[in-house]
């Protein structure tokens, strides 16, 4: 399985297309970008400050990718996350999954985002008031 995990101090780059090695094999590339909203817990914010424990986050994410690949025909995963201040309207996370067909790609991507929130050491460390 092709995989890429990157953490960014600055704006997430534009979404690249389906990774070259799985072209022809995969018909589906399901992607998700999570953006910071203008309110957090009911209060207007300027942004969120994220923290990541990179070495362990990469290890946990890789374990999740492997567990997903055992349950779905996942052939490529890309996962990016911002660290530091992410302002309202900016993307904090980008994740994408390739598989032969659409339904499995959606299911695996939705599950990856759920798993992210169980045990991957990434934190909304602080909400910066507007």
């Amino acid at each position: 399985m092709w995989q890429e995990i990157k953490f960014f101090d600055d704006a997430l780059p534009p979404s690249p297309p389906l990774p070259e090695p799985v072209r022809g094999a995969c018909g589906a590339w399901a992607e998700f970008r999570g953006y910071v909203r203008a309110a957090e817990n009911g209060a207007a914010i300027h942004g969120l400050r994220y923290e990541i424990y990179p070495a362990m986050a990469e290890k946990r994410l890789t374990a999740h990718f492997q567990e997903l690949a055992a349950r779905y025909p996942v052939q490529a995963v890309r996962f990016w996350h911002r660290t530091g201040l992410v302002k309202v309207g900016e993307a904090a996370v980008y994740a994408a999954i390739a598989s032969p067909h659409r339904k499995e790609a959606f299911a695996a991507l939705a599950e990856l985002m759920d798993r992210l929130k169980t045990d991957v050491p990434i934190w909304k460390a602080e909400a910066i008031p507007a």
Binding site: G34, Y53, H81, T118, P121, I122, W123, K124
Partner: protein, 79 residues
Amino acid sequence: MKILYFAHVAKALGRREDDLEVAEPLTTDALWERLLALRPALAQYRATLHLARNNDYARPGDTFANSDIVALLPPVSGG
């Protein structure tokens, strides 16, 4: 032993890491005793923190040696 702090815990302690000299491997309870002696302010977070040892969540029965990297992990909230 290197100790790593994150998020609100790092903010409350005013630091992101500590070095702890341990003569022999410590159980989880013994490690917490040492941590609380070093940083009493950790007490209020203890119930919500998970310990990680060398980038894996610690399991019951794990011991923590002087060469280990130990992370005190608040509940995660990525995405």
